[in-house]
Structure formats: C-alpha cells, structure tokens
C-alpha cells in the first residue's frame, strides 16, 4: 500500500529540469543516513530523474558536500 502511494516522481511533479549538485538539502533527502543513495523503488523517482539525481549526488560527494559514508561508520 505504501508503494502505490509514493509512486509519483517528485521531480516530475515539480517539473524540475535539472538537479543541481550544489543543492545539498535537496540531495540529502535521497540519501540514507549512511550516505547511500536511496533506490528508485523506495523513493518513487522516475528513471530519468534518478539518473540525474545519482549524478548530482556523486558530484556532491566528490567535493565533500555529501559523505561517501556517514561519520559513524567510518
């Protein structure tokens, strides 16, 4: 039941054309507290936006805006 309700991609809903790697607050919502990217099946993001999101998260990691792994695990 949960699944059917989260189905909508929130980027599609907001008509986001680009997912900026600098928007840490936004990206943080698509990352677990361990720093892992939340899969599409959980977040409901569409394929296109998930790809853009993944790219942005990985970029953000490179410049230490997001962690590769959270503090406690390291």
């Amino acid at each position: 039941m949960n699944r059917s309700r989260v189905k909508v991609c929130r980027f599609c809903e907001e008509k986001t054309s680009r997912i900026e790697y600098k928007e840490v607050r936004l990206l943080q919502r698509f990352v677990t507290e361990r720093g892992k990217i939340i899969p599409r099946r959980m977040s409901g993001t569409c394929a296109r936006h998930q790809r853009a999101l993944t790219r942005s998260i990985k970029r953000a990691r490179q410049i230490a805006l997001l962690p590769f792994a959270s503090e406690s695990i390291r």
Partner: protein, 157 residues
C-alpha cells in the same frame, strides 16, 4: 566552440587573510587568459566538509562558471592540481549549459517545499525521513522493503 563549464574550488580555510580572494582572482585570470569567459563567480565561503580532506574539517568553497575551450579547462585543472592551497577541485559540464537563471543561488535557504509533505503523506516514508534526519538510529528502517511483514507483526501483537 565554447562550452559551458563550472569549476568547484575548495581552498584551505586556514589561508592568511585575503589569500583566498587572491587565489580566486588568479584562477579567473587563468580562465580569461585562455580565451574563455567568466560567467559567474559564486563564493560560498568556509563550509564544513562532509568528510575530512587532508585532515581539514572545513574548506572555502567557490564556484566559477565559465564558457571556453579545453585549453582553459586543461590549464585550470593543471594549476589546481599543483596548488597546495586547493584541497580539491572539480570541473564539470552542466547538463544543457547554463540557463539564464532568475534566482542567483537557491542554496543557503533550504526552500521549505510544502509539496514534500503533501505529496507523500505516507507514514512509512515520513518515518524513514525522520530517521535519516535525526541520524542516530541504525539504518535498518530504510532497508526493509517488506511492509507486509511489519504489519502482520503488528497484527499479532
């Protein structure tokens, strides 16, 4: 053909007064000297790092958007690698180039987004997100795909 690029420069936050600005100016000059054009400079200032880089816990973030060719990019990349005060740098090509942005940077304010709540009123999701923000719990909550199990357990109880 000129292509849009953006470079992120993380400078050592312990640089003497004014040195950071000087470095940024210097890199801007590198860009213009190689036939490229600086479009926008975005200074974030000192920010905490998500993980330590060269034992530093914070760095001075700057983003420079420019439009140029590979000579500018290559030279910039080379100089950043050599520069000891640059903790890290990253040059990217933004998808679809830069739009004439109406808002300069949406970053500092987190943009509250009421839609987030209204779009996903699910308890499960809300709980998951809360757990992530509070940051203390084990991440078991996020990984479980079987809510059926959870429900049946509740029923039993």
């Amino acid at each position: 053909m000129a292509v849009d690029y953006e470079i992120a420069i993380l400078l050592n936050s312990q640089l003497p007064e004014g040195q950071a600005e000087e470095a940024i100016e210097r890199y801007q000059k590198v860009i213009t000297d190689h036939g490229a054009e600086v479009l926008k400079v975005d200074r974030w200032g000192v920010r905490k790092l998500a993980y330590n880089i060269q034992k530093q816990q914070q760095a001075d973030y700057t983003f420079v958007q420019f439009s140029g060719d590979k000579e500018a990019v290559n030279e910039l990349d080379r100089l950043c690698k050599l520069d000891e005060s640059v903790l890290r740098h990253m040059i990217i090509r933004p998808e679809g180039g830069f739009e004439p942005e109406p808002e300069p940077e949406p970053e500092p304010e987190p943009e509250p987004e009421p839609e987030e709540e209204s779009a996903e009123p699910t308890e499960e999701v809300a709980e998951g997100e809360d757990a992530e923000e509070t940051d203390d719990t084990d991440d078991g909550a996020v990984d479980e795909p079987e809510e059926d199990d959870a429900e049946s357990e509740e029923d039993v109880e």
